[in-house]
C-alpha cells in the first residue's frame, strides 16, 4: 500500500518536506487548520490562541492526565491566505530547539481531494536531524517511564 504521508528529508540539508493527500475538499482541509476546536482534536493539544491572520499568533499547550503541562509551543503567522497558504514560525517552549519556519501550501486535487505540502526549515542540519529523531526518543522515554512505574510497583 502506498503511504499517504510522505517525508522528503535529504541528507545534509536543514529542511524537509511533508506531503499528504486528503480525501477532503480543499475548504474542509483548510478549515481543520483554522478552527481552534478542530486543531485541538487532531493535534491532541489545548489551543490557547489561534489568530488566523497576518501578524497573528498561536499558542498550544498539552497537559498530562495529572494536569502537569508537558508541552508548550507557539508561533507567529506571516501569511494567511485562505485555502492557499499559511506561513508561520513554530517554537517549542522550554526546549533546546530553536524556532523553525513553516510554509504550508494547500491545493485542490479534485472536488473531493486536496493536498497539503508542508516545507519546514530548521536553524541547522543537526537541529533538523534531532527533531526527526524526537518521536523515536519519546518512544524510548515512554518505555523508561513505564519501566519506572513497574519498578515502583515492585517496591
Amino acid at each position: 500500500m502506498e503511504l499517504k504521508t510522505k517525508i522528503n528529508a535529504k541528507n545534509g540539508q536543514q529542511d524537509l518536506v511533508i506531503t499528504r493527500e486528503f480525501d477532503l475538499p480543499l475548504e474542509l482541509l483548510f478549515k481543520a487548520y483554522t478552527e481552534p476546536e478542530i486543531v485541538a482534536q487532531w493535534m491532541s493539544t489545548k489551543v490557547l490562541k489561534l489568530e488566523n491572520k497576518k501578524y497573528g499568533g498561536y499558542q498550544f499547550e498539552t497537559s498530562d492526565p495529572r494536569g502537569n503541562v508537558v508541552f508548550k509551543a507557539n508561533g507567529v503567522i506571516h501569511e494567511h491566505i485562505p485555502n492557499e497558504r499559511i506561513t508561520r514560525t513554530f517554537e517549542m517552549e522550554n526546549s533546546p530547539f530553536a524556532a523553525q519556519l513553516e510554509f504550508l501550501d494547500f491545493e485542490s486535487v479534485s472536488e473531493e481531494k486536496s493536498k497539503l505540502t508542508m516545507h519546514v526549515i530548521y536553524k541547522s542540519v543537526d537541529l533538523r536531524d534531532q527533531m526527526l529523531k524526537l518521536p523515536f526518543a519519546q518512544g524510548i522515554n515512554m518505555a523508561h517511564n513505564r519501566l519506572q512505574d513497574i519498578v515502583n510497583q515492585l517496591k
Binding site: K4, I7, L24, K31, S44, K133, G139, A143, L147
Partner: protein
Amino acid sequence: MEIRRDVFQAIADPTRRAILSLVAIQAMTPGVIAENFDSSRQTISKHIQILTECELLSQHQNGREIYYLTNAKKMTEVADFIEPFRQMWDDRFNKLESIMKNYKPKQ
C-alpha cells in the same frame, strides 16, 4: 520494505520498548527479563523472539544460559530513520481526515 515495517512494529509495542531499554543497560537471561514484568514468561518470551527476529536484540551463549542484549547498531539504524516522525504526522493527518469527514458546519 517488509523487514523495515517489522522493526517499527516491534518498537511500537510498549512492553517491547521496555525490554529494549532494560537490556540496553546490561545483558539478561529471558528469566531475569520476565521478572521485570507482570506478564507471563511465555508472553515475554514471545516479545523477545520478535525483537530477536528483527535483530534489535542479539544473543550471547554463556554456558547453558542465553543472554540478550540490545543490538546497538540496529538501534542506531532505526533511530536514524525518519519513520517514527512520519508515523507521528500520518497519525495526526488520519485524525484530521476523519474529523473533517464528519464535520457539520455550524449554522
